[in-house]
Subunit: 226 residues, 4 copies
DNA sequence: AATGAATGAGCCTTCATTCAT
DNA sequence: GATGAATGAAGGCTCATTCAT
C-alpha cells in the first residue's frame, strides 16, 4: 500500500517523541519547569499523559532532553564563527562571536527557547546544567578567551584574559536576561534584526577599547591608590 | 478577658509580620517562589498556617512584600554614591556606582537575598516588579546615565548614552546572574570582599575605555561597512 | 446556641480522625492495603481526600494506626483470661485462652477486622507488624506458654513447651485463616457463637491429650526409629 | 523470508509461555498479585510487554495458570503417601501425610512458591481457587479424613472426624502461614530438613493423642457442664 | 506470531486557602 | 485577633491493556 521508503522507521517511531520535545520546549520556556505541567505538554503534543513517562522516564528526563536539544538546534543555526574565513582578524572574530551570540539569544522560532531556558537554568540550576557546560558552554568560553588573548597580546595574564572575556559576554547576555527591566525602563527599545546588529557593533567597539585598555599597565587615576 | 498588656497588640502583630517577612525572604531566596511553601515559611516564622493569608492576603502578597523590603534594606546598606564628596569626578562616581552595585549583589546577610530575588524576577516577572522599577531601579538607571553622559561629553546622543550605561551595568550583574555557569567554568573564582573590589576596578577601567571609544565617531575597521 | 459541654474538645477534634480510622478499618479488611484506595476510605468517612494526609501523614500511617487500634479494641473486648478466677486450673486457663482467641477472631462488629487484618499481615508483613508483636502478641504467647508449661509439669524442656503451644494456637487460627478452603470443602460449616464454643471445646480436649502425650518420654511406634 | 526451521514455532511459543510461567511464579510469590507488575514479569521472562495478554489473556489468567502449575509441581515432587507400602498402619500414614505436607510447604526451589501462593489465596481468594480445591485439595482432605477415621474407629461421627482432621492440618500449615510472627517471636527457629522432620514427629505424636482422646466419650472436667 | 508504542484510567500526595471557633 | 482542622483542586506517575504493524 505504501511505497514511500522515506522517512525511515526511526522518524515514524519518534514522531510522538519529537512532538513532545517541541511542546515541552514551548511550555518550559514559557512558564518554567515547576509551573509547567505534564498534562499541558502532552495536550499540546497531541499525546497521552503517559507518553512523557514512556519516552523520557519522567518530567526531569523530558526537561533535560529539551535543554540539550534546544542548545543543539541553536548552535547549529548560529555557529559561533558565523562562517568567517580562516584568516579573519581577532577583531572580526570578536564581532562574529558577539553577533552570533546575540542572534542565538534573540532568535525567534523553535530554537529561540534556548535563551529563556538557559536564563531559568541560571536561577535554578538543574542536573542538566553540568553536562551542558562541559559539552557546549566551555568550548564557547575557550573560543572567546582565545580571541581575547590574541587581542591582549603575549603579555596577558590568565586573570586579565578571563576578566575581559567575561566583560564581553556579560554585555551580550545582559540584554536578554534583564529584558523585563529594560522593557520597563526603555519601552521604545526593540530587538529586531537591525537593532541586534547595531547592538553587536556597539558591544564590539566598546569591548575592543576595554580590552586594549586592560592590556596597558597603569590604572586610571580614579581608582584609589592602585 | 485578657488582662495582660505586654507585649501590646500592635507590637505582637508586627512581630509576627516581621518574622514572616524574614522567614519568607530566606525561603524564597533558597528555593524560589513556586517551590516555597506557605507551611515551611510559617513554621520558620513560628506562626500559624493561616498567618500568611491573614497578614499578606495570599502568597503573592507576601512575595511582593518580601521583594520590596529586601531592596529597601539593600539600598539602605549600600547607597549608590558610596558617600562620595559632592565634587567627585565622573570617573570616581562610575567606580563608586559599580562597586556599590557589586557589594549590594554579593553581600552576605539578611539583605543578600535581594540579588537572588531580583534574578528570579528577571526570569519570571511578578506584579511586584513594576513598582520596584519605578521607585528604585529607574533612579539608579538615571544616576548611571548622568555619569555616562558626563563622561561622553556634550555631543553624546541618547542612544549612545543608553548603550554605554547598559554595558556598564551588564558587567556588574553578570557575575551574580551567571554564577552557576561561572562556578563550573572557573571553580577557583571566589567572591570575597577583595575579589569584589578587584572586579569593580576592572569593570571601571574597561568601561571607561569603552565609553571614551564610543564618544569617537569612527567605527573600527572590523565592522563591515559601518 | 450549644450548651452541651460534653464531649470535650478532644472528641470533637478527633471526630474526623475517628471516622477515618473506622472507614479505613473496613476497607483495609475488605480488600487489603494495596487495593484499598484513599478516596474510598475518605468517602466512607465523609472526609476530604486530604484528610488522611493531614491526620496520618500518608496511607501507610493510616494503615499502621488501623492495625494497632483494631488489636487494641479486640483485646479489650475479649481479654485472654476471659475473667477467670485467680485460682483457675491450667486446664480451665487453656480453655479460656482458646475460647477467647476464637471469639476474638470470629467476632462480628467493628473489632472483627483485626482477624482479617492480621491474616493479611501474615502474607505481606508491613512495618507495623514489629511493634505489634512486641506489645501485644508476645504477651499472649508468653501467657499460653506458661499455661502449657504448667500442664507439662516440671520436666518440660523449652522446645517441647514451644511446640505444644504452637500446636494449640495453630488449631485456633487455622479456622479463620483457611476459611476460603474450609467453606468450599465443607459448605455446611458455620461459625456462629454455638459452633465457636464447640470448636473451643474440641481444641481444648484435643490439645490437653496432645500435651500430656508430649510430657511422656517414649515415641510412638509409628515414628521410624525415634 | 526466514528459512531457519529451528526451533519450530510450537516449541518457541511454548518456550515463551514457560518462561512467563516461571517468571510470574517468582514475582507473584515475592511481592504478591497486586504489587507484581506485568512489565517486571515479562522482563524477567525476556518477553514482550504484551506477551502476558497474548498467552494468558490478562494478568488474572496468568495468575491462575501459575497457581495451578505450582500445585501440580509440588504434588508431583512430594506425593501425599510418601511411597508407603500398601499395608501401612494408620499411624504411619498419618505421619507420612504430615511429613509430606510440611516438606511440600517448606521446599526450596521452583515448586516452593506453592506455599506462599496458597497463603495469599487464603487471604484474597481468586477465581483460581475453586478448581484447585476440587481437583487437588479435596482429594488430600479425603485422604486425611480416611486416615483419621481409621484411627478413631467405627463409632466416630463425621463431625468428630472432620474436627480431628482439621486439627492435624492446622498444625502443619500454621508454621508456614504464621512465619512472620514466628520468626519475630522465636528468631532462633529454623526450618531446615532436620527441623522439619522433628516437627512432623511432634505433630504426629500430638495428634495421635488428640485423636484417641476425641474417640472417648467423656468430656474433660474443665469444660463447663459438657 | 509477536512486537512495542501508545492509551486512559486512577492513585497518592501536596498545597494554598478558608472558616468555625 | 488568631488558630488549626478541613477543603478541593491539581499534579506526577504507574499500570494493565490495546492495536497497527
Amino acid at each position: 500500500m505504501s511505497i514511500k521508503f522515506q522517512p525511515p522507521d526511526d522518524a515514524a517511531q519518534d514522531a510522538t517523541r519529537q512532538h513532545l520535545l517541541e511542546a515541552a520546549g514551548e511550555v518550559f520556556a514559557e512558564v518554567g519547569f515547576h509551573s509547567a505541567t505534564v498534562r499541558e505538554i502532552c495536550q499540546r503534543a497531541g499525546a497521552n499523559v503517559a507518553a512523557v513517562n514512556y519516552h523520557f522516564r519522567d518530567k526531569d528526563g523530558l526537561y533535560a532532553a529539551v535543554l540539550t536539544e534546544s542548545l543543539r538546534l541553536s548552535l547549529k543555526k548560529y555557529p559561533a564563527d558565523m562562517g568567517l574565513p580562516p584568516k579573519a582578524t581577532p577583531e572580526q572574530r570578536l564581532h562574529a562571536f558577539a553577533r552570533s551570540f546575540l542572534w542565538r539569544i534573540f532568535s525567534t522560532g523553535a530554537e529561540s527557547r534556548h535563551g529563556r531556558l538557559m536564563a531559568r537554568e541560571m536561577v535554578e540550576p538543574s542536573a542538566a546544567l553540568d553536562p551542558m557546560v562541559k559539552e557546549h558552554i566551555r568550548p564557547l568560553s575557550d573560543l572567546l578567551m582565545s580571541i581575547v588573548s590574541d587581542l591582549l597580546g603575549d603579555k596577558a595574564d590568565p586573570q586579565t584574559i578571563r576578566l575581559c572575556a567575561m566583560s564581553v559576554v556579560s554585555q551580550v547576555v545582559f540584554y536578554h536576561h534583564c529584558r523585563p527591566v529594560l522593557s520597563r525602563l526603555f519601552p521604545s527599545v526593540k530587538f529586531d534584526p537591525v537593532s541586534i546588529d547595531h547592538l553587536a557593533d556597539h558591544i564590539t567597539r566598546f569591548s575592543l577599547a576595554g580590552i586594549k585598555s586592560a592590556a596597558g599597565k597603569r590604572a586610571p587615576a580614579c581608582l584609589p591608590g592602585k
